[in-house]
């Protein structure tokens, strides 16, 4: 077989891709995907008391069942020397525990571990579950009030529903605040955000008649108050940034997969499935990692800052 140069290899690759597109479009047309940002529910099967059962809710239930099932079977017959499934589960848990303890330290790491690991595994399983072939593919056409019909997939990735990232963000937010308050004490923790110490000092100096130092204390006090307010704001902004980061990334990934499957039905989407597998891991890692970092920052005493100044 003659050796081919880089150029001819590229040319052959390009021709193959174009051929794949042509064959796919001519003989195996894929219907144009329609994706709605709001989670849908299908008509007769949508209410459980006051709760709407959407397709993303069903998916997240399946994700929970898979996680519980996996760890149930992995820990059913525990042995000191792990084998098979138990070995696999222990590897995952140990890697996560090492990571958490590496960032937060031994003592705090043990406290943060359950929440951080649960967030990581939940996001990861939901992201990877959504790459299975059933998702977005089996659905029903549903008539709407105005006579048009829309396509409603029975299962859709849970992370593409805004409510799931929001739920995780709230869990992360409240956990971080709880850890901060319990390890520093309420007064000390709130002191991070409401820094009036220097302002009051300046007031005291003004009463004592030291005008010059009072002015500088007031100046630094005003900066301190402003910094505290910013910290307080950033605490709440975290909820929004957590939510939209996960939601945006996962929704964009889903749209990318659907569009690639629509444009080039053969072989090429597999590359993007690989990309999405990696992206699901990265997103889970970012969510859990940021929660961990914020928790570590929240429990860190900030005495040293004051002593310096």
């Amino acid at each position: 077989m003659p050796k081919l140069g880089v150029k001819s290899k590229l040319a052959i690759g390009g021709i193959v891709v174009i051929l794949l597109i042509a064959i796919g479009r001519l003989f195996f047309p894929v219907p144009q995907p329609g994706l709605e940002l709001a989670a849908n529910y299908s008509e007769p099967f949508y209410k459980l008391g006051p709760i709407y059962i959407t397709n993303t809710l069903i998916t997240s239930w399946i994700g929970i069942i898979v996680l519980i099932g996996f760890f149930y079977f992995a820990t059913r017959k525990m042995k000191l020397v792990p084998k098979g499934l138990q070995n696999f589960a222990e590897t995952i848990i140990e890697l996560l525990l090492d990571f958490v303890e590496g960032v937060a330290g031994k003592e705090n790491g043990r406290r943060f571990f359950p929440v951080v690991a649960a967030i990581f595994l939940y996001v990861l399983f939901n992201a990877w579950l959504a790459l299975l072939p059933v998702f977005n593919f089996i659905g029903i056409n549903q008539m709407q009030a105005d006579g048009t019909s829309i396509y409603v997939p029975i299962l859709r990735a849970a992370n593409t529903d805004m409510n799931v990232p929001l739920m995780l963000a709230l869990v992360s937010f409240f956990s971080v605040e709880y850890w901060g308050i319990t390890s520093l004490g309420l007064r000390h923790y709130l002191g991070k955000f409401f820094r009036f110490g220097q302002l009051f000092q300046g007031l005291g100096q003004l009463i004592r008649g030291k005008v010059k130092s009072a002015v500088s204390a007031f100046l630094y006090g005003a900066i301190d108050v402003f910094v505290g307010a910013l910290e307080l704001l950033s605490e709440f902004v975290r909820i929004i940034s957590f939510t939209f980061r996960l939601f945006g990334n996962m929704t964009a990934g889903e749209i990318l997969l659907l569009m690639m499957a629509f444009l080039i039905p053969w072989i090429i989407p597999a590359i993007f499935y690989g990309l999405e597998t990696f992206l699901g891991f990265v997103q889970a890692f970012i969510f859990a990692g940021l929660t961990l970092v914020f928790a570590t920052m929240a429990v860190a005493a900030h005495e040293s800052e004051h002593q310096k100044s």
């Binding site: 008509e43 007769p44 099967f45 898979v66 072939p133 059933v134 089996i138 029903i140």
Partner: protein, 80 residues
């Protein structure tokens, strides 16, 4: 080289096995649900079929990997 190729083909087979299990499960579930009429039965049976397919896929892949592992271990013992 041939050995490697056989192994690659084996792994591709595992991929096809996962996809086939899950798809057949879900499509079969949907078919049963449609026979039983009523939309909610269609949805419920599709999801049930999907979960059954998932379980079958996981168990099957686990067995296949065990088989590959045992095979490799036997080979390495034979080489010694």
């Amino acid at each position: 080289m041939d050995k490697r190729r056989a192994e690659v083909i084996r792994f591709i087979g595992i991929g096809w096995y996962i996809a086939a299990c899950i798809l057949l499960g879900a499509l079969g579930g949907r078919w049963i649900g449609q026979k039983l009429d009523g939309r909610s039965s269609e949805i419920i049976f599709t999801i049930l079929g999907f979960i059954l397919g998932l379980i079958a896929a996981v168990l099957g892949v686990y067995r296949m990997f065990r088989a590959i592992e045992n095979n490799n271990q036997d080979k390495s013992r034979g080489n010694r």
